[in-house]
């Protein structure tokens, strides 16, 4: 892997705390003398935050599609009636 990709791998190791102890120490030392590495860490943390948001959106869309199936398709009408009856005003 090229150097920049190895750096991304190392930063991931730092973020998820999976770097071996020697590498973790070396990384922290490099952070002190290399401001660009610190910037890389900052942007990669933001990238992980965005990936999580993206993934949750996708997962929520999948769950909503299942909901629509259950509450629209005829084969699930028994289930649908059972649920909706809970919310009927008496």
């Amino acid at each position: 892997m090229r150097t920049s990709l190895n750096e991304i791998k190392l930063i991931d190791g730092r973020i998820f705390n999976t770097n071996p102890p020697e590498e973790a120490l070396l990384f922290d030392a490099m952070l002190l003398i290399n401001p660009e590495l610190g910037q890389g860490l900052k942007w990669q943390q933001k990238a992980h935050s965005i990936i999580k948001q993206y993934s949750r959106r996708r997962l929520k869309a999948e769950i909503e599609a299942v909901h629509q199936q259950l509450f629209q398709k005829p084969e699930h009408s028994t289930f649908r009636r059972r649920i909706l009856s809970l919310f009927q005003k008496k």
Partner: protein, 181 residues
């Protein structure tokens, strides 16, 4: 570290798993919410958020959660309901930090623009990064799902995608000055 197949590996597997969970666990949650005066939409929102939390927990540690899925999801939903309506209910078993997830998105207008860009121009990379980091799938499985010749190629592509997304965020943040600051 990788997911133990609780939800399977593909969208079709997840669809089946969510159908089963919906049928098993939603009636109890709906009954509970209804009893406390909530609407069908309240029950739906609470239950769907509970499923997301359950999915994320099982992606991290599948074995712990195989004991009783229905009871576990019901517990999360109860806590979400308590939080949503600020009832004086003791929050148990699920950490508070997990409860805040539903509202941490879209807090920055420019983050929405960036997300839209990534969802369109960078979707393939985002899907792969989701598989690695969110679904926590094994490298071998990701390689198969995304058509790579082997685990090494998939791993290299993962870091290339991370590099691309990282650079995009950096560039866009300079354009949208208020992004994530």
């Amino acid at each position: 570290m990788a997911q133990q197949n609780t939800f399977g590996y593909t969208a079709a597997d997840r669809e089946q798993a969510f159908l089963t969970l919906y049928k098993q666990a939603f009636p109890a949650v709906a009954k509970y919410v209804s009893k406390l005066g909530g609407s069908f939409d309240d029950a739906k929102d609470i239950f769907q958020d509970a499923l997301v939390i359950y999915y994320e927990r099982s992606a991290v540690n599948a074995l712990e959660l195989k004991l009783d899925e229905k009871a576990y999801i019901f517990g999360i939903a109860k806590n979400l309901w308590a939080k949503k309506f600020r009832e004086n209910v003791f929050l148990e078993s699920v950490e508070n930090c997990e409860m805040n997830f539903a509202h941490e998105e879209d807090t920055q207008p420019s983050a929405g623009k960036l997300m839209h860009y990534l969802e369109t121009a960078g979707q393939k990379c985002m899907e792969m990064l989701k598989a690695f980091y969110y679904d926590n799938l094994p490298v071998k499985t990701v390689a198969e799902l995304f058509g790579f010749s082997g685990e090494r190629s998939a791993t290299v592509q993962k870091y290339k995608c991370m590099e691309k997304v990282r650079e995009t965020i950096k560039q866009r943040s300079l354009t949208y000055e208020d992004f994530l600051e």
